[in-house]
């Protein structure tokens, strides 16, 4: 769902860029729509060139960082946090860029509430098993999204996942986590 305005239950916040890269966003939706249209046009322009080169996750990440930092430096920021993911030269890549142009990449990335709740879970999982399979990773993500649904009061139990492999990019949506609210009966005043 979309942030504090939990009435938008069907807004997509992930976007496929090409067969090797995808991005996920949080923040101002209008600014995302702007960035989305700019990226889509660039991808089209590149297809027109038809010269065998396409945006790689790292190039996209670098370009977006420069845009965001430049906007911030001109006191006209795009009020978003972007997560760029993809596969480059057979290696997976994940990057984080925020509205002030802070940018970094890591095997695990999370923004917003995720930084507090999901990041520790993901880091532990990665440290225990750096070569986990896609299925294991998806399971871990589901676990994180479940915890976020439990703990973030302004969330909905519905999410979407963008998956990039050497064979291409796909988006799975919608996914609903299985939740267990039995603990509610232990709350005084709740029957």
């Amino acid at each position: 769902s979309y942030g504090a305005l939990a009435r938008y239950r069907n807004l997509s916040r992930v976007m496929k860029v090409n067969d090797s890269a995808a991005i996920g966003i949080s923040g101002d939706y209008a600014d995302y729509q702007f960035m989305k249209s700019v990226i889509e046009q660039r991808v089209i322009d590149e297809e027109c060139l038809n010269d065998g080169f396409q945006y790689t996750p790292k190039s996209l990440f670098s370009w977006m960082t420069r845009v965001l930092y430049n906007r911030r430096s001109n006191f006209n920021p795009l009020w978003n946090t972007f997560i760029v993911g993809g596969v480059q030269d057979g290696e997976p890549f994940l990057g984080y860029i925020d509205k002030i142009g802070v940018a970094y990449n890591d095997p695990t990335i999370a923004s917003g509430y995720g930084a507090y709740i999901a990041a520790p879970l993901l880091r532990d999982a990665f440290e225990a098993n750096p070569k986990m399979s896609l299925a294991e990773a998806e399971k871990k993500i589901d676990e994180c999204m479940k915890v976020l649904y439990y703990r973030d009061a302004r969330s909905l139990n519905k999410y979407e996942v963008a998956i990039v492999t050497k064979d291409g990019t796909m988006i799975k949506s919608p996914i609903v986590s299985e939740t267990n609210w039995e603990v509610a009966h232990m709350i005084k005043g709740y029957e």
């Binding site: 010269d51 065998g52 080169f53 790689t56 790292k58 190039s59 670098s62 370009w63």
Partner: protein
């Protein structure tokens, strides 16, 4: 007659410049250039210009125009690295040069750039050799030679084209130097003063070899027969542009293919 004379004149300037040859193998692209000195007093004019870690050019024609274009190319490469954290694909750089060169061929009051470039570069798609013209046309080449008497070099390179792909770097350089040697008039030889070499490849940033650094490679083709340097008795054989002149009395093997085996390191 549908001709734009200014463009033809500009291309003449390229043909008057001293020769330069570019060729590539599966892993490397190289440029060899003949440096000319305007007088005994002057130094030999630099012909090969580095553009980025993965691209270099050699020039033929108006050096001043070449300087402008190479500054532009450097700028494009740098901007691309800054924005995209990745080396600019050679094909995209060359088309940027083409687009820039076209403007003065159509705009009032301007003249075409009087320089031809041989661009050697290496990117994710492998090594490349491109040729650019004052006409703003550009060509993707397996090998190319431009400048004065470059036809002889082109002929040499055409003859040995099939060997280049699987060549080792040293062999490729020998072919390049031999091709360049074809453009020299009689009695003139390649020396460390008049010869320049530029190499870029898979694990090799664009590097220029000048003066003493070329000696190692010149030594590899030293003593080989040249089709032009044959003594007067063989004038007739020379005119037919055979690879290396066949001289029955000469103990040296004339065929470069045979020569290579003897010189292999």
């Amino acid at each position: 007659q549908g001709r734009i004379h200014q463009i033809e004149y500009a291309m003449e300037a390229v043909k008057q410049g001293s020769a330069t040859v570019g060729l590539k193998s599966k892993s490397h692209a190289i440029l060899v250039a003949l440096k000319r000195a305007s007088s005994e007093l002057a130094a030999h004019q630099k012909k090969i210009i580095p553009i980025d870690d993965h691209i270099g050019v050699s020039i033929a024609g108006l050096t001043a125009d070449a300087r402008l274009l190479s500054n532009f190319m450097r700028s494009e490469c740098l901007n691309s690295r800054y924005a995209y954290d990745s080396p600019l694909p050679v094909s995209r750089l060359v088309s940027a040069v083409g687009n820039k060169s076209q403007i003065p061929t159509q705009r009032y009051g301007r003249r075409p750039f009087g320089v031809g470039l041989l661009v050697a570069g290496y990117d994710d798609q492998g090594p490349h050799i491109y040729q650019t013209c004052p006409s703003a046309n550009y060509y993707d080449c397996k090998a190319m030679a431009i400048g004065a008497r470059s036809q002889s070099a082109r002929t040499y390179v055409e003859k040995h084209l099939d060997k280049f792909l699987e060549c080792s770097l040293d062999e490729l350089i020998k072919h390049g130097l031999r091709a360049l040697r074809e453009t020299l008039p009689q009695e003139v030889e390649l020396t460390t003063k008049n010869c320049s070499l530029g190499i870029v490849g898979k694990d090799m940033e664009f590097t220029i070899y000048d003066d003493d650094d070329v000696q190692k490679y010149l030594a590899m083709i030293e003593g080989e027969e040249r089709s032009r340097a044959a003594p007067p008795a063989d004038q007739a054989a020379m005119d037919t542009q055979e690879g290396e002149g066949q001289q029955p009395a000469d103990p040296q093997p004339a065929d470069p293919a045979v020569e290579e085996q003897g010189m292999e390191h």
